[in-house]
């Protein structure tokens, strides 16, 4: 059988796995909702959670589709569809595929011209195994780990609550720091232009991109706009009693920040 990266059999195989991914999500959704009903939880909360989660997910999911399109140029559509529907990301998948290609003495750009089944299997194997840890480690440790956390909570409930908040704040602080990661371009550039040299995962060659020295401020302004919008939503909820805003505040603020990123990038580089 002649191989191509968009062979219908590949789509059929991926469709089976994606169906299993969907089935797992539906199974846990149904299980949780049944438990909520059985314990007499307010079902309005569940309904709101479903609607809010669905709306919030749309913009990030569209960005994942863009990633599928990007990777499909070298790997066909089926493999990126599979990889980005399960654990992975653009940076991880591109690096894993690029490393597998270079292990075979070639590049993704060269393989895009025509890939053999052997090369495809090699790349798919590396992409699959290199990110597999989370899938098996959770079943191995989750139950004992959670039991340990519960017995810890029983010893000191107040500290346990603070610990939980510390986990969330620790994660948020890392991403707040990340937003400022390109600010150093302001004082590191010469004549207002900043050069970034990075390795192109497709060709394996170094690529130089030119940015304005103020380009590092774009994510900072976007974050501030989104944060201010969230504060305004909070005011609407408190002062005008518009409680419905609470359910949509996060996706509204996120999309507003993303939309204003377009003129901000045009202005600051």
């Amino acid at each position: 059988m002649e191989f191509s990266t968009n062979h219908p059999i590949l789509f059929a195989l991926v469709a089976v796995i994606i169906a299993a991914v969907l089935a797992q999500s539906v199974y846990f959704l149904v299980k949780s909702v049944r438990r909520a009903k059985a314990t007499g939880m307010d079902m309005k909360k569940i309904k709101k959670t479903v609607i809010t989660a669905a709306i919030f997910t749309i913009a990030p999911a569209v960005s994942i589709v863009i990633t599928v399109i990007t990777l499909s140029q070298s790997l066909g559509i089926a493999l990126p569809w599979l990889r980005l529907s399960v654990v992975g990301s653009l940076s991880y998948e591109a690096i894993a595929a690029s490393n597998a290609a270079s292990g075979m003495g070639t590049t993704l750009a060269a393989l895009a011209e025509g890939m053999t089944a052997s090369q495809y299997v090699t790349i798919a194997t590396v992409m699959t195994i290199s990110i597999m840890v989370g899938i098996w480690l959770v079943p191995v440790i989750a139950k004992r780990y959670q039991s340990g956390l519960i017995s810890f909570e029983q010893k000191d409930a107040k500290w346990s609550g603070i610990l939980q908040n510390s986990l969330f704040i620790g994660m948020i602080s890392a991403f707040v720091g990340f937003v400022f990661c390109d600010v150093y371009r302001l004082w590191s550039s010469t004549d207002g232009v900043f050069e970034v040299v990075s390795k192109d995962p497709l060709t394996g060659e170094n690529v130089t991109t030119l940015y304005s020295s103020t380009s590092g401020l774009v994510p900072v302004f976007v974050m501030v706009i989104s944060a201010v919008a969230m504060c305004l939503c909070g005011l609407l909820i408190k002062k005008l009693k518009w409680k419905w805003v609470n359910d949509y505040a996060l996706p509204i603020c996120m999309v507003l920040g993303m939309a204003l990123a377009i003129p901000l990038t045009a202005w600051l580089g």
Binding site: I9, L29, K48, T49, S85, A101, G103, D247
Partner: protein, 223 residues
């Protein structure tokens, strides 16, 4: 989905989660094997070895740390689902945090476990369906989504997300947040090697530092 009276709800979540995740692992590993069998093509073992040596150690280490860091935040059901469907720190976890905040639910309670699992399950379903639509409509969608005019918006998704989510969480826990936010600002501003590809490694650093600081503040009676 019937629950045995000898098992608690959370026990059944772990039992079912184990079955699902191990099954998903086998399915994912089967993909390259089945492709190899159908097309009668053995992998290039040198390419596999070199590719794994160059890729796996770092991602195995990061994944292991992520599991330890994220399980207490995602809950049991959310963890099993998230470590199969991915996009945890940029989608599943913010989605769960937002749902817990809106429902005013304690993440450690059974109500929190249910809310978190519902949010992550819905997010996973919506993501999978949107990707399926994207794949089906890839020809008409490609010129729209690949339009350079839209690129800055998607490039800035994380700042837009964490601006809104951060202000909501930090304003409620500002005493906890001051030290880790300052530390992360200093690290990310003055160490150019820290960027979008290393932020995942910095999440556990931020979490451990915040726990240490909050323990000190707690012992001193400040929080």
């Amino acid at each position: 989905m019937k629950e045995n009276k000898n098992y608690s709800y959370i026990d059944t979540v772990h039992r079912d989660g184990r079955i699902w995740n191990i099954s998903m692992m086998i399915l994912l590993l089967a993909f390259p094997v089945v492709v190899a069998l159908i097309f009668n093509a053995a992998p290039d073992w040198r390419g596999v070895g070199m590719g794994l040596i160059a890729t796996a150690p770092m991602y195995w280490a990061v994944s292991a740390i992520e599991v330890i860091t994220f399980i207490p935040m995602l809950g049991a059901g959310g963890s099993y689902l998230s470590f199969v469907t991915g996009n945890i720190s940029n989608l599943k976890l913010p989605c769960a945090i937002n749902a817990l905040e809106n429902a005013n639910a304690d993440p450690k309670s059974e109500e929190g476990e249910i809310i978190s699992t519902v949010a992550i399950a819905v997010s996973s379903i919506v993501t999978t369906v949107i990707i399926i639509l994207g794949v089906l409509l890839i020809i008409p969608l490609e010129p729209v989504l690949s339009n350079p005019a839209l690129k800055p918006a998607f490039d800035q998704m994380l700042p837009a997300l964490f601006g809104a989510l951060g202000v909501a969480l930090i304003s409620k826990n500002w005493k906890l947040a001051v030290a880790p936010v300052i530390l992360m600002l200093i690290l990310f501003i003055f160490i150019p090697a820290l960027n979008s590809s290393t932020v995942g490694i910095m999440v556990p650093v931020g979490v451990i530092f915040t726990i240490i600081v909050s323990r000190i503040l707690y012992k001193k009676g400040i929080i």
